[in-house]
Subunit: 341 residues, 2 copies
C-alpha cells in the first residue's frame, strides 16, 4: 500500500509509491530511456493488454474492452495511489501520514498510434476534454477525494513512458495539493484587496500589451506568463471568468480544443517536437468551495499550464523555489506567434 | 541586465537570465549533454581561463591568480544575477519586478582535476566549508542582499556543466527565496506551539527509531527524510542547535567534512556515481533576524539537503507540488548504511 507522508516543516505531501518500487540498487547510475514497449498496449485491437476500461467513447453496438472505440480510460497498471481502502490518518511521533488512497487513470486519447496530441484532430481533442470533465465529475462523487489533477507527460524527459501513444492522466488525491492551495490563497488575497479576479485582470493586461500573447481565439488566449519558470512555458486561459473547467459547454470545449492543438503544433514545429508536460488547474471539488473557500467562485480562474522540457532544473531551483528562465517570455511569445501551423 | 519577476498569483520570484540567453530556436529539441570544455579552466596553471579570483586559500608568497593555491573563488562567467547596479523595484500594471542584482560565485574546490567532491580529502572539504562561511559573511555586508544559497550541481542531469572539476556555487539574492521562507514559517509554527525546535525534535526521533539514520558521527547525522521527495535524498544535520552555519568552529567544520565525504562516497559507490545536487539551508542574514524573524535563533536549524538525480520529475509534480518517491526512505537508508566506504 502506498503511503502519503507529510514533511513536518513544509507541510508538503509526498507519495511513497510502493507499487512502483524498485530494489535500491536498481536506481544506480544516470536515468536512461528504456526500450519501446511493443506491441503498443494502447492501440485498437490490443485492448486485452490494458486493465478493463473505466470509461470509453464508443458506438453503442461495440462491447466494452473490444475494438471500435474512439477514446478509452483505464486504471494505471502501476498506480501511484490505490482506489481501495480507507485513509487512516495517523501520526508517528512528529510525523503525519495516511494510506495512499486515490485514483490514477490513463486517458488513451486515440485508437491510432499517434504520439503527440498536436497531431490529433480538433474533434478528437474535444472528446479528450469531454472525457476530463466526465471523469472529474465522477471522481468528485467519492467523498475521500479532494482534488483531481489532469496532466500529460509527453516524451521521455517529461516523464513519458515507453509507449509512444498519445495519452494523459488523472490523479485524484485525498488532500489538496500545496501548489493548488497556494494559487487559491494568492488569488483570494488579490480578490480581497481589489474585488476582482487576478486572472481576469491579467488577461486584460496581456491583451492590451500584446507582448506575451501567442494566440487569441474564440474566448481563449495562449500567453507566455510574465514570470515564466521555463523557456516557452505557455498558459491557456478562458477569457470568461470561471473557477471550474467542468462547467464548459460543448462550444467552449471545441474552442479550447482548437487553441490547445494550435499551441501544441507551434511547439512541435518551432522547437523540433520537444518533450512537454501540461497540467490543468481547476478549483477543488464543489464541496470544498463552501466555508473556507466560499469566495472561490469569484476569485479563482481555471487554466492550463504547458511546460516544454528544454532545460534542466538544478540545485539553485531545488534549494530556493526560485526558477531561472534563460529566455524572456516576450521573445518566446514572438517566436511562437511567428511559427505557422 | 537580468530581471527578477514575481508571479502575481503565487508570489514566486523568477530570474529572467538574459546573460545566458540563447536565441529562441537554439532551444529546439531535447536537452542534450555538450562536449567537454578542454583544457579545464579550473585546473592549476589555467588561472587565466577564469575571471580574477574573489577569494583564495593559498600560501602568502603566491600571487593572486597564479598557481600554488588550494581553493579559489571566481565570479561566474555567465552570472544569473549581476553585482553592479541598484534594485529599482517597480511595477508594470499588476506585475512586480526589479533588476537582477545579486552575486554568483564559483568555488573551485581543488587544484586537482577531480570531478566528484566524494574524492577530495576531509582536510580539503573542510577548506571548502570554511570558504562557504567566509564568502557568506562577506556577502552579508552588502545591504542589497537578503540571502546566500550555497549549492552544488554534480553531473549533467543535475545541471552540471561541461567541466568535470569539483566545484560549488554561491548565489546571493535580494529577496528571501520562497522555499526558505516556507521552512522558516513552518519551523516557527512548531516552535510557537511546542516551544521546541522542530529539527531538534526530528533528530531525537530519528536517532531513537534508527530506521532512517545512515551515519551518526561526531555531532552530525545523515538521514533520509521521512517524507523524501526523491530516492536516496539525504539530509545532514548538526545535532547541536544552530540556525546559522557560519557559527561553526574549526572542529565542527572538520566533523561536517567527514560526514559529507562519507555520505557522498556511499552514494558514489552504492549508486554508480550518480548525478546529484546539494543545497545548504541556513537562516537569512543576521539583520533579517530581528523583528519579524526575531525567534529565528531558537526555531530554525541549518542543514544540508543532498538530492541524487535518479528519477525524472513529471507533470504531476509540476502541477501539484506533490512529489512521488518510488523508494521508501527506510529502504534507501538501509542500503546506504550497508555500503562500505
Amino acid at each position: 500500500m502506498p503511503e502519503l507522508r507529510k514533511d513536518p516543516v513544509l507541510g508538503r505531501w509526498v507519495i511513497i509509491a510502493t507499487e512502483r518500487a524498485k530494489r535500491p540498487d536498481q536506481f544506480a547510475g544516470k536515468p536512461q530511456e528504456g526500450p519501446l514497449e511493443e506491441p503498443c498496449p494502447f492501440c485498437e485491437n490490443n485492448e486485452p493488454r490494458t486493465p478493463p476500461e473505466i470509461y470509453a467513447i464508443r458506438p453503442k453496438h461495440t462491447p466494452s474492452n473490444g475494438p471500435g472505440w474512439e477514446l478509452r480510460v483505464v486504471p494505471s497498471i502501476a498506480p501511484f495511489l490505490r482506489i481501495e481502502g480507507e485513509l487512516e490518518r495517523r501520526g508517528e511521533g512528529l510525523f503525519d501520514l495516511m494510506n495512499g488512497i486515490g485514483a490514477h487513470e490513463i486517458v488513451i486519447e486515440t485508437n491510432q498510434h499517434i504520439a503527440n496530441m498536436a497531431d490529433l484532430s480538433e474533434e478528437q481533442i474535444a472528446k479528450v476534454i469531454t472525457c476530463y470533465i466526465d471523469r472529474t465529475i465522477d471522481l468528485e462523487k467519492d467523498k475521500r477525494f479532494k482534488y483531481v489533477l489532469v496532466f500529460k507527460n509527453y516524451g521521455w524527459s517529461a516523464g513519458g513512458g515507453r509507449v509512444k501513444h498519445s495519452r494523459s492522466q488523472l490523479i485524484a488525491t485525498p488532500v489538496n495539493p500545496k501548489r493548488v492551495k497556494e494559487e487559491l490563497v494568492g488569488a483570494r488575497q488579490y480578490y480581497d484587496y481589489h474585488e476582482r479576479c487576478i486572472f481576469c485582470d491579467l488577461i486584460k493586461q496581456e491583451i492590451a500589451s500584446k507582448d506575451r500573447v501567442i494566440l487569441d481565439i474564440d474566448g481563449f488566449i495562449a500567453v507566455t506568463p510574465f514570470a515564466a519558470r521555463f523557456p516557452f512555458e505557455v498558459w491557456i486561459l478562458p477569457k470568461k471568468h470561471s473557477c471550474d473547467f467542468t462547467s464548459m459547454d460543448m462550444a467552449a470545449r471545441y474552442s479550447l480544443s482548437c487553441i490547445l492543438k494550435k499551441t501544441l503544433a507551434k511547439l512541435k514545429k518551432g522547437l523540433n517536437d520537444p518533450p512537454y508536460n501540461y497540467v490543468l488547474h481547476s478549483a477543488p471539488f464543489r464541496r470544498q468551495k463552501v466555508g473556507y473557500w466560499k469566495s472561490i467562485d469569484y476569485d479563482y480562474h481555471w487554466h492550463i499550464e504547458i511546460i516544454p522540457r528544454l532545460t534542466r532544473v538544478a540545485g539553485f531551483e531545488w534549494g530556493t523555489g526560485f526558477y531561472i528562465c534563460p529566455l524572456p517570455p516576450e521573445d518566446a511569445a514572438k517566436f511562437l506567434r511567428e511559427v505557422e501551423v
